[in-house]
C-alpha cells in the first residue's frame, strides 16, 4: 500500500497510478463467459434430448468418430490452457519474456488444434458425410441429427478457438509494448479466461461426442 500521504484525503485507498477497477473488469469478463456457457449449454441440451430420443442412432454415429483425433485435440487444448496459465504466472512475477514465449506456444497449439480439425472434418467430407449429400440423406434420421450436431458444436467451438487465438495475439502485442506488465495484467487474465472457457467446452464436447457409445 502507498504511504504517500499527500494524496487527497477523500481517496484513502488511492495510489499513484491511473484509476482502474481490476475486480470489475474481471467480473465483466465472467458475466460474458456465462453468456457463452448458455450458448453452448443450449446446444448441449438439444444434443442430450435428441440422444435420449434416438439412443441407437446416436451410438452408431459416435462410433464413427475418431477417438484418437478427439483425444489428441483434448491433450492439445489442456496443454494450451497450461501455457496460458503459466504466461499469467510469468507476467505476475515480472518475467515478460517467458510470458510472451508461453503465449506463442499457446497460439501454436491453437493452430495445431485447427489443423487436426481440418483433417478430421476433411476425412468425413471426403466420404460425403456432410448435410446435403445423397449418402447423408440415406442415413437414419437420428444419425443425421448426430452429425448435424457434431458439425455445429465442433464448428462453433472451432470459431471460438480462432477468436481465442486472435485475442492471444493481441495480448502478446500488449506484453511486448509494455501495456501489460507485472502491475497491470488483468487484460491478460481476461484473455486467459476466454481461452480456458474454450478448453472447458471441449472438456465436455469430447466425452459427449466421442466417448459415450
Amino acid at each position: 500500500m502507498s504511504t504517500n500521504n499527500t494524496v487527497s484525503e477523500n481517496h484513502s485507498t488511492a495510489v499513484n497510478h491511473e484509476h482502474r477497477d481490476d475486480a470489475g473488469r474481471k467480473m465483466g469478463m465472467w458475466l460474458f463467459l456465462f453468456t457463452e456457457l448458455l450458448l453452448f449449454g443450449g446446444l448441449f441440451l438439444v444434443y442430450s434430448i435428441y440422444r435420449f430420443m434416438n439412443p441407437a442412432d446416436f451410438s452408431n454415429g459416435s462410433h464413427h468418430l475418431d477417438v484418437f483425433m478427439g483425444a489428441l485435440n483434448t491433450m492439445v487444448l489442456i496443454t494450451s490452457s497450461l501455457t496460458v496459465a503459466l504466461s499469467i504466472t510469468a507476467i505476475q512475477k515480472g518475467n515478460a519474456k517467458l510470458a510472451l514465449r508461453m503465449l506463442a506456444v499457446t497460439i501454436l497449439l491453437a493452430i495445431f488444434f485447427l489443423v487436426n480439425k481440418y483433417f478430421e472434418w476433411g476425412h468425413k467430407i471426403h466420404y460425403d458425410l456432410y448435410p446435403g449429400t445423397d449418402l447423408f440423406k440415406a442415413l437414419p434420421s437420428g444419425e443425421g441429427l448426430f452429425y448435424v450436431l457434431y458439425y455445429f458444436m465442433t464448428g462453433l467451438h472451432m470459431i471460438h478457438v480462432i477468436v481465442g487465438a486472435v485475442i492471444l495475439v493481441f495480448m502478446g502485442k500488449y506484453i511486448s509494448d509494455g501495456s501489460i506488465n507485472s502491475s497491470n495484467y488483468t487484460l491478460l487474465e481476461n484473455g486467459g479466461l476466454y481461452w480456458h472457457l474454450v478448453d472447458l467446452i471441449w472438456i465436455f464436447l469430447f466425452p459427449l461426442l466421442y466417448l459415450i457409445h
Partner: protein, 95 residues
C-alpha cells in the same frame, strides 16, 4: 474494503493441475472401452466435471479470487442444470 493482494499461482501448481487433467483424460478414454451400461454417461460426465472444476479453480483462479465470482459461477451452473433437469422431466413424460 477490497483487498489488493494478488495471489500468484506457482508454475509447479499449474503443472500439477495439467498432469491431473492429462491423467483424467487417459482414464476417461480407457473407461469408455468397457460397457458400463447405464453408468457410461455418468462416468464420462463425472470425469469431465472433475476436469472442469480443476480448470475453474486453478487455471481460472476461482480458488484465489474474490468469492463473489465463485458464487456467480455456482448460480449459473444451478440455472443451467435446472434447464436440463426440467426439460428432461418434460420429455420423459411425453409418451
Amino acid at each position: 474494503m477490497e483487498e489488493h493482494k494478488p495471489h500468484i499461482v506457482e508454475y509447479l501448481t499449474n503443472i500439477y493441475v495439467w498432469i491431473a487433467l492429462a491423467v483424467l483424460t487417459v482414464i476417461t478414454i480407457w473407461v469408455s472401452e468397457f460397457d458400463l451400461k447405464l453408468l457410461t454417461v455418468a462416468v464420462a460426465l463425472g470425469v469431465a466435471s472433475i476436469k472442469a472444476t480443476l480448470v475453474l479453480m486453478y487455471f481460472m483462479h476461482l480458488r484465489f479470487d474474490s468469492k463473489i465470482l465463485t458464487f456467480m459461477v455456482l448460480i449459473t451452473m444451478i440455472v443451467f442444470l435446472s434447464l436440463i433437469v426440467f426439460t428432461f422431466i418434460d420429455y420423459s413424460y411425453r409418451a
